[in-house]
């Protein structure tokens, strides 16, 4: 396989995070050690190449495991207790990651470790480099935020930085849960190490402004150009259809996300305005010289205050249940589209190899009549080499196509389930709010009637 380095090929999402430590071998589906920074060949997907006649091996296994683990998918992960470590611009937040599980791959029932944000990014980068080029949908890590983080570092204890930390904590938790839900990733040694080991080598290339960061940006740009020039002959209608579908879904999800963000914003406004009205109604009640009406107006003010609190709680639900989830899915869809892009790249590589092979053959044909025996031999060797590469390329392409089909199937099932669960939870929160409203107004009604 060619030694071309394509680190950005493994990264197809907004999050520009890719470990700069990965080796060129990472692009291979061979059984060799993938990268010095990852945890060796024990990762199962690596076995793929051993038996090209049975590429289903991995997934067959995984399917069974999935069945089993769905019955006993017993792993709970919580991210909690954000703690600030250090001061000034070198400060960072540390989160407690608690894993409770009965699965045998874990060494203990309950493990608690401390991790910082860059550790999560490091984990994601390793997983992306290992699996994305094979067509696995690797859940994207939460987004970086220089502004948000700076506020926290600088020590602003205000509401917005508290909210920021909570938002991030929640996002990290969702990220881990989504990662372990993937049957292959759950067994990945890097994931296990992340969850279990007390010391983790620091991921150094995660900073946005590092040399690695700049390299990523350059690669991303090159990528974009490549995307435009690769014209794949799609022989498989399924892929074309799915790609279209995901493009549509992307647009629709973004629209939905925007509407929900608008809702959160307006609901917060409503809460502020209700509180403001409550105060005003109380003052009106004080001013009112008719006793019974005065009392009723004061009661009205109290009811409105309670309703304001309801609105605040509901806004939280709006945000955490729906808005953040939608944000996650928008990023996930980008990861899915990235996986399709990987397939295109794999196809392109295969094509390139074929072109090369053709050229080598032509060169050999020419040399046949040139009477240069050692050059001829070299040409024949090269042909053999490129034939091997073409074969490998075709196998890779077949494999990634197969993987993607499965991944997409799993993704769609999970998505529907995910949304349904969240929507039900959200509706239940709405029901609760309405029931509280009924309670408050029913308590107020006799007060209104008592005005005489």
């Amino acid at each position: 396989m060619s030694e071309e380095r394509d680190p950005a090929a493994l990264e197809a999402e907004d999050d520009l995070f890719v470990s700069a430590m990965e080796s060129p071998e990472a692009a291979r589906l061979s059984a060799e050690d993938i990268s010095p920074s990852s945890n060796g060949p024990k990762a199962e997907p690596v076995l793929l190449d051993d038996d090209p006649d049975d590429p289903d091996d991995l997934f067959a296994e995984i399917d069974e495991d999935e069945e089993e683990s769905r019955d006993t998918f017993d792993i709970q992960i919580s991210v909690s207790d954000p703690e600030k470590v250090g001061d000034g611009m070198n400060a960072y937040m540390v989160y407690k990651v608690l894993t409770k599980t009965s699965l045998s791959i874990f060494s203990r029932d309950e493990v608690c470790v401390k991790r910082r944000f860059s550790d999560f990014l490091g984990l994601h980068s390793k997983l992306a480099s290992k699996y994305m080029h094979m067509g696995y949908i690797v859940p994207p890590a939460p987004e970086k935020s220089i502004v948000g983080m700076t506020k926290v570092k600088v020590g602003k204890e205000d509401l917005s930085s508290v909210e920021f930390v909570e938002k991030r904590r929640s996002a990290l938790e969702r990220y881990l849960l989504r990662t372990v839900k993937h049957p292959a990733l759950l067994k990945d040694p890097d994931v296990l190490q992340f969850l279990e080991s007390s010391e983790l080598p620091r991921a150094v290339s995660t900073q946005a402004l590092s040399g690695a960061g700049i390299l990523r940006m350059v690669n991303k740009a090159a990528d974009a150009v490549n995307k435009m020039t690769i014209k794949m002959n799609e022989s498989d209608a399924w892929f074309e259809e799915k790609q279209q579908q995901f493009d549509n879904l992307d647009v629709q999800l973004r629209k939905l996300h925007a509407s929900v963000e608008s809702l959160v914003c307006h609901r917060r406004e409503l809460s502020v305005n209700t509180a403001s009205f409550a105060k005003s109604a109380a003052m009106l009640g004080n001013s009112e010289d008719h006793t019974a009406l005065s009392r009723a107006l004061s009661q009205l003010a109290e009811v409105e205050e309670k309703i304001d609190q309801l609105h605040q709680d509901q806004a939280c639900a709006d945000f955490y249940l729906i808005s953040e989830l939608l944000g996650d899915y928008v990023r996930l869809i980008t990861a899915v589209k990235g996986v399709f892009d990987q397939r295109m790249k794999t196809w392109a590589k295969c094509q390139d190899a074929q072109v090369m092979l053709q050229r080598k053959r032509e060169a050999e044909a020419k040399l046949q009549h040139a009477n240069k025996p050692d050059k001829l031999q070299q040409a024949k060797d090269e042909i053999r080499e490129w034939e091997g590469k073409v074969q490998q390329g075709e196998r890779d392409f077949e494999q990634i196509s197969k993987n993607i089909r499965r991944e997409v199937g799993r993704f769609e099932k999970d998505r529907v389930k995910d949304f349904r669960v969240v929507i039900i939870k959200y509706l239940e929160s709405l029901v609760h709010t309405q029931q509280q409203l009924i309670k408050y107004w029913e308590a107020f009604l006799p007060e209104a009637k008592a005005i005489a």
Binding site: S259, S262, E269, L270, I424, Q434, I438, L445
Partner: protein, 404 residues
């Protein structure tokens, strides 16, 4: 219900005619119909009367908002009514909200599906209708307060307003030239200072003055805050509309193996649109009609009461000035009789204003209490109804989603 006026002016919105204001069958007024032409609203004012002062027992005339303002202004300018609380003029019909929305709808047409567009258009029409209803009723109530008041109902201009089968535009223009709205302008700038500066001997008026000044600013503030609250509520309802539309699109656009499941979801989301968005919208509307409109109306009515106090305070100032003038005349020995006459008239006017003012302010309080009670009860009952409706719809949807 205290005071000599047996009818209590309850402000009733949403439901058609204010039965209470039309207690007296000798003069019954309503606005059964109105036309909206571009910016102008043409009200059909319908009168049924048994009073001999009218030429016919029944009238139906077309009036514009400006005609109502003309009527209000002529009544304000009438010296005879100085001791009465003049029913506040109805505000100008305000279609700005729906008009803005219609504009936005037109701009966003290309980015919406046909169904979304149709739905939004429908809601926009409903909003137009709501504004329309509101303005009709506030104009109607103005006329009904006049007709139910023993003095105003006899007003000559009021009768012209109800009877005259031609356009009032010409008359209006002439009237403006005559009065020039001078009295009204004076009131606005000076009233607070003058009212609070008056040395009050009468306990009743002292209390009323303090109450009205304070209450006036509080109710203005409460109205503004209620308006903001209602607007936010409407925004939330709007957002839910967009959200369920978007959810629908996502559910509909998937021809995967889960198509049937997603079709069911689309049904549920449509129901949700009704249960969440429409209910929120109705809650916001009812809150506006019962609470915000109530506060708006009474802000204007409180102002009318303050205007009465102002007129009385000015009469008192006139009386005090006439006393001073009389003293001066007696000192100089000139024009004493004239000064005495002037003083007598000022005192008479002041006494008349005080007497009728007391009656008016007392009945005003009764009216206000009754109106607040009625509207607060109605608002609460409606909010409870909507919330209960929403709960049952939501629970239905949850059942369907869970059973899938």
């Amino acid at each position: 219900m205290t005071g000599p006026y047996s009818c209590c002016s309850c402000i009733v919105f949403v439901h058609s005619v204010s039965v209470d204001l039309n207690n007296d069958a000798s003069l019954v007024i309503d606005i059964p119909d109105a036309l909206c032409e571009r910016d102008k609203v043409k009200f059909t004012v319908h009168t049924k009367t048994t009073l001999s002062s009218f030429q016919k027992p029944e009238y139906s005339v077309q009036r514009q908002h400006e005609d109502f303002i003309w009527l209000h202004d002529t009544i304000v300018e009438t010296e005879e009514y100085a001791g009465l609380i003049i029913p506040p003029a109805p505000p100008k019909p305000d279609f700005e909200g729906p008009r803005e929305k219609m504009h936005k709808l037109g701009e966003g047409e290309s980015s919406m599906t046909k169904e979304e567009y149709a739905k939004m258009k429908q809601e926009l029409e409903a909003e137009y209708l709501a504004v329309f209803k509101k303005t009709v009723q506030v104009h109607e109530v103005f006329l009904q307060r006049l007709s139910s008041h023993p003095m105003f109902r006899k007003d000559r201009n009021f009768q012209i307003f109800l009877e005259y089968d031609q356009d009032l535009t010409v008359r209006r223009k002439n009237a403006k030239e005559m009065f020039g709205g001078f009295f009204k302008n004076m009131v606005k700038s000076a009233d607070e200072v003058l009212i609070s500066g008056v040395k009050e001997v009468d306990e009743f008026f002292e209390q009323e003055k303090n109450f009205l000044l304070d209450y006036s600013s509080k109710i203005k503030d409460a109205t503004a805050k209620a308006e903001k609250m209602t607007r936010s509520h409407k925004n939330v309802a709007d957002d839910y509309n967009h959200i369920s539309g978007a959810l629908n699109n996502i559910a509909a656009d998937n021809n995967t193996a889960f198509k049937k499941h997603l079709e069911k979801c689309a049904e549920v989301f449509e129901k949700l649109r009704v249960s969440i968005s429409k209910v929120e919208d109705r809650m916001a509307s009812d809150q506006e009609l019962k609470l915000t409109e109530l506060l708006r109306y009474y802000t204007r009515d409180i102002q009318a009461a303050k205007d009465l106090l102002y007129r009385r305070a000015r009469a008192l100032a006139d009386y005090e000035n006439s006393n001073k003038a009389l003293d001066k005349a007696r000192l100089k020995g000139k024009d004493v009789a004239q000064a005495e006459e002037n003083q007598k008239q000022c005192l008479q006017k002041f006494d008349k204003l005080s007497e009728s003012g007391k009656k008016e302010l007392t009945s005003f309080k009764a009216r206000r209490v009754v109106a607040f009670r009625k509207n607060l009860i109605e608002m609460t009952e409606l909010e409870i109804k909507h919330a209960k409706n929403s709960v049952s719809l939501l629970q239905g949807s949850i059942e369907v989603l869970k059973s899938n």
